[in-house]
């Protein structure tokens, strides 16, 4: 095989749909909008697990808050026939992620588990990934954040604290994934069991609207939910091939 063929082959392989199927896991999440109540327990859980900063009122007013998962709210209709619909929005871990192509230093890339990962150490802060991400789930560190002592004691030692000038976003709680893999390895298991990894947001969701798991395992909860007729992807028309799949809200209108 000539050198050129080998290069072309490498690229073809990479671009082939299902490329990631060759790897061990393909993590994914489902969000059942018929269960979600907009309670935002997930938001605080993520903030707690992932050392998200407390930015303060001023920075919040300036639009510099950091929430790896946020609840968007959309009003429909006018009083009295009015509805408020919630939708949790987090990194969709797109398999064709626009944010990945634009990063000049590959600080955000797709790992073999199908995660869109963010390498803080490598990020130079161009913020292009945030522009390219249509879901607007990338958050930039406009400052060095500060935890009033002793609030710093609550910081999770398994997760880094990001410095000013770098981009951050939902990691699918990669530290928990790693921990589960370690535990599986210690137990002599080749694979992590379904439900063994629960990102903080999924873990806490009081209505169980969020479900996380391995999409490659057909028996996993998440795989089963992904076969539900209610599934859809947000901004599917952009072909981001996201790993977060939503289940439509059921609106059982009375009239």
């Amino acid at each position: 095989m000539s050198i050129l063929d080998r290069i072309a082959d490498g690229w073809r392989k990479y671009r082939k749909p299902g490329y990631y199927d060759e790897f061990d896991y393909h993590w994914g999440m489902t969000v059942d909008l018929d269960r979600c109540t907009g309670c935002e327990a997930c938001v605080t859980a993520c903030q707690s697990e992932n050392n998200l900063p407390i930015v303060g009122e001023k920075a919040f007013a300036e639009g510099r808050e950091v929430k790896w998962i946020r609840i968007e709210r959309y009003w429909e209709g006018e009083f009295p026939d009015v509805k408020l619909r919630f939708i949790p929005m987090l990194c969709q871990h797109c398999d064709s992620a626009p944010c990945e192509t634009v990063c000049p230093v590959s600080a955000t890339y797709h790992n073999q588990d199908g995660l869109n990962t963010q390498v803080y150490n490598r990020c130079i802060g161009t913020r292009s990934c945030a522009v390219y991400c249509p879901y607007e789930v990338r958050y930039f560190n406009f400052y060095d954040h500060h935890w009033d002592s002793p609030l710093d004691q609550q910081l999770n030692p398994d997760v880094t604290v990001r410095e000013k000038g770098v981009m951050e976003k939902c990691t699918f709680c990669i530290q928990r994934i790693r921990q589960a893999k370690d535990v599986a390895k210690d137990d002599g298991r080749r694979r992590v069991r379904d439900g063994e990894v629960q990102p903080a947001c999924v873990q806490t969701c009081p209505t169980q609207a969020l479900v996380f798991g391995d999409r490659k395992d057909p028996e996993s909860q998440v795989s089963k939910l992904m076969n539900n007729p209610r599934t859809y992807r947000v901004l599917d028309e952009l072909n981001t091939d996201s790993s977060v799949v939503y289940l439509k809200k059921v609106e059982d209108d009375h009239a």
């Binding site: 290069i7 490498g10 990479y14 059942d32 018929d34 269960r35 109540t37 907009g38 309670c39 935002e40 327990a41 938001v43 605080t44 859980a45 903030q47 707690s48 697990e49 407390i54 009122e57 919040f60 007013a61 609840i71 709210r73 959309y74 009003w75 006018e78 009083f79 009295p80 009015v82 619909r85 890339y109 490598r122 009033d148 002592s149 002793p150 004691q153 609550q154 999770n156 398994d158 790693r178 921990q179 370690d182 873990q203 806490t204 009081p206 209505t207 169980q208 609207a209 939910l225 539900n228 209610r230 947000v234 289940l247 439509k248 809200k249 609106e251 059982d252 209108d253 009375h254 009239a255």
Partner: protein, 760 residues
């Protein structure tokens, strides 16, 4: 040696460099498939996360009593999660529960005992030792007890349960004081009273949301902060998509859409205070259509004769068709359930309203059935009296103080100066010679104390809890310290025990620590028998409870219940009364307990301040919600500062144009407006300040939704701090929906709606 001149040399070097560079890049391209561009930054295989220690304990952030597991590393608490084996939380947690860490690690915590040095309220305190502080209090207590003046000692605590409540009772008893009260702003007095009237016991039943198919909620924000939000959310999720055959439907009746209103399938706004009338209208329809066939059918017919559909439609502003449809669906969908609370219960007719809601449950015979209303067995723990002080009781306490009948007031974690409207409580406190506070934080009431004996937070203390309401069977949970105390503070129970000892009460209260006291208490539970656990020794029983964090017994209460005829005959809901004339004060103020800050006690937690309000996405501030049409007429836009004036005061807040609130009603969240509660809390305004002192006639509970107000534009505006940009979807199908018109009316084939079963 070939003849190479200077130029050839340069050419060769140039060509060589380009060639080497190109070759190198080519090799790299082949070597690394794209996904391995950056091998260095992929964490090395032997990277390992730390090993954490988890402790099971109980959440104390609200009265629900969820079981929690706290993750600790190197002696520090890092994360709170629900305890999966706890029946209330089942591993889940609300945002506030998560934020408990910030109570522990709050930078504004009191770090040791303090004594007021200046004028009360001057805020000048000096550090003292525990001994000094305790001596001062204990001496006075001893003196008063010795003189048989024990009743001049007041004990005012936040709502506590379990053995701490028992300890307080024992303590008060031994001191000879009858003035032991609990005070929480959002305690559902009217619900207890209504249950007392209807079911004959002032307790909360278990509302089985999980198995219900049709829920009517009269003002109860059961997903936000009503009674047990995490447990209700679990039930909600299951009811919605957890069963293969049916999807539960939810109807919410309230003048301003709450979180539960947003989650409901149908949101109905009845005129404020007429929710009970609507409930009786539904009851009338059920009975008059012959859907009720109990023996007391005729009594009901008579009692409800004044609540014909048309009359009720007229009084409540809810369409007659809607009333008929809901009543029919309610009776035809089995099991169905009605609950009431929140603003519906906070009117002058609050108890009557909730009695009417109970009547609906009675008429569809869901009492004691799955998916209905289930009576809880007696709690396994100490049977303590309900000591919750209503607004009226607090006024009496204030009056007593003014009369000079109170020598010492011991405060425990309650903040009435912040949460009692127009009660003159601050002036009353001025008449009390010695005020002692056991709070962990400086707050508006603690700032007036003479001696502050700061308590541990719940994550540093021993305690236990017997959740009210239970989950239909007996449970109890033990809470244990998960970290060693951060500061020179002590557990509330230990402070009380120490005071008792120093005041010479150690004969009756011999325990040296709260842990011993609780352990002895649990010995009683263990001894009571009938427990599987008695197969093991008490010590191993105790250890297993500490490990599990919860203990439960599948004992069910007999659902049998007969309704007293007199209750039926007296059923009626009078129209609500409001303070202020509708001419001078055209709007009804709908104050609601903030979903994020609750009644204000969570306002010092930065995570909660930064958590967008679920409905408006506002953070860090106060706002007033106004119907879009009304705002249009008054030419008000988001952020316009308005003065909100009631007959009892005036506050200023920015407008939030809220699509789901009735015209004629304006709403404000309670929780902000602190002044001495620390760096994160001191902001916004407190609508409690302008509430009228009107009460529910039967209980004396504050009718917090019964104040009329007027609003005046100030011509100034501010930018609301919030996350939401545009609140409309613009047809972009971001939140997609299904179902809809396909399933109509009460005979809807619920099976036709796609259901998702989560295998658990």
């Amino acid at each position: 040696m070939p003849n190479i001149d200077r130029r050839d040399f340069i050419k060769l070097v140039g060509a060589g460099s380009v060639g080497v560079g190109a070759g190198f890049m080519l090799r790299e391209t082949i070597k690394h498939p794209t996904e391995q561009l950056i091998p260095h930054v992929i964490a090395p295989e032997d990277f390992s996360t730390g090993i954490a220690t988890w402790y099971n304990t109980v959440c104390s952030m609200c009265a629900a009593g969820c079981g929690i597991s706290v993750r600790t590393r190197e002696g520090r608490a890092k994360k709170i999660e629900g305890n999966p084996s706890h029946p209330v939380s089942q591993g889940r947690l609300c945002a506030l529960g998560q934020a408990g860490l910030q109570v522990l690690y709050n930078p504004d915590r009191l770090t040791g005992p303090l004594m007021q040095t200046g004028q009360r309220g001057s805020g000048s305190f000096a550090q003292v030792t525990w001994q000094e502080g305790l001596d001062k209090v204990a001496d006075r207590l001893e003196l008063l007890t010795a003189e048989n003046q024990g009743n001049r000692i007041g004990l005012l605590s936040q709502g506590v349960r379990g053995h701490l409540a028992q300890l307080f009772e024992l303590f008060a008893d031994q001191l000879g004081s009858e003035r032991l009260l609990h005070y929480d702003f959002d305690h559902p007095h009217t619900l207890y009273a209504a249950n007392h009237r209807f079911f004959g016991e002032a307790r909360l039943p278990y509302y089985d949301l999980k198995n219900t198919r049709y829920l009517l909620s009269f003002g109860a924000d059961y997903l936000g902060n009503w009674i047990s939000p995490v447990h209700h959310s679990l039930g909600f999720g299951h009811s919605r998509q957890g069963r293969s055959d049916v999807r539960g439907r939810f109807v919410q009746i309230e003048p301003r859409m709450s979180m539960s209103g947003a989650a409901a399938d149908e949101w109905i706004s009845a005129k404020p205070g007429t929710e009970g009338i609507l409930a009786l209208g539904l009851a009338h329809r059920i009975v008059s259509e012959g859907h009720y066939s109990g023996v007391d059918r005729d009594d009901w017919t008579t009692a409800l004769s004044g609540y014909t559909t048309d009359q009720v439609a007229e009084q409540t502003g809810v369409g007659a068709d809607t009333i008929r449809r809901i009543a029919d669906t309610f009776v035809h969908t089995e099991p169905s359930l009605a609950i009431g609370g929140g603003s519906a219960a906070n009117h002058s007719n609050g108890v009557d309203t909730l009695v009417a809601v109970n009547a609906l449950n009675y008429l569809v015979a869901n009492i004691g059935k799955p998916g209905g209303l289930v009576f809880n067995p007696e709690p396994a723990g100490p049977a303590s009296q309900d000591r919750q002080a209503s607004y009226r009781t607090m006024l009496e306490l204030a009056e007593d103080a003014k009369q000079g009948n109170i020598e010492i007031l011991i405060l425990n974690g309650t903040n009435p100066v912040f949460s009692l409207p127009s009660a003159g409580f601050e002036e009353a406190l001025a008449e009390i010679p010695l005020i002692v506070s056991l709070s962990s934080f400086m707050d508006e009431t603690t700032a007036l104390a003479d001696i502050i004996l700061p308590s541990h937070t719940y994550l540093e203390s021993w305690g236990d809890d017997f959740p009210e309401p239970g989950v239909g069977f007996s449970i109890g949970s033990v809470s244990q310290p998960v970290v060693s105390p951060l500061y020179n503070t002590r557990a509330t129970g230990d402070i009380v025990l120490q005071l008792a000892k120093q005041a010479g009460l150690s004969d009756a209260i011999p325990w040296s620590s709260m842990k011993d006291f609780i352990k002895d208490g649990w010995r009683l539970i263990y001894d009571r028998g009938g427990l599987d656990t008695q197969k093991e020794s008490f010590e191993s029983f105790w250890r297993s409870i500490l490990k599990a964090g919860v203990w439960g017994e599948k004992t069910h209460r007999d659902p049998a219940f007969t309704l007293d005829k007199r209750v039926i005959n007296s059923i009626a809901v009078p129209p609500p009364e409001f303070s202020g004339s509708s001419d001078a004060y055209p709007f009804i103020l709908h104050p609601y307990v903030s979903t994020t800050l609750h009644d204000g006690h969570a306002a010092n937690l930065p995570w909660m301040q930064e958590l967008p309000d679920p409905m408006t996405s506002v953070v860090y501030g106060s706002w007033v919600e106004i119907n879009p049409a009304t705002a249009g007429q008054m030419n008000l836009k988001e952020g316009d500062l308005v003065d909100i004036e009631s007959p009892h005061g005036q506050i200023r807040a920015p407008v939030y144009v809220y699509p789901a609130i009735m015209p004629g009603v304006i709403a404000m969240p309670i929780g902000q407006g602190h002044v001495t509660y620390g760096r994160y809390a001191n902001r916004g305004v407190n609508p409690i300040e302008i509430l009228s002192p009107r009460v529910d006639q039967r209980t004396g509970a504050l009718a917090s939704s019964a104040t009329r107000v007027k609003i005046k534009a100030t011509g100034r505006r501010i930018e609301l701090v919030k996350t939401g940009g545009n609140s409309r979807e613009l047809g972009r199908e971001i939140v997609q929906t299904t179902g809809g018109k396909a399933s109509q009316g009460h005979s809807a084939k619920l099976n036709s709606i796609p259901i998702t079963v989560v295998p658990t």
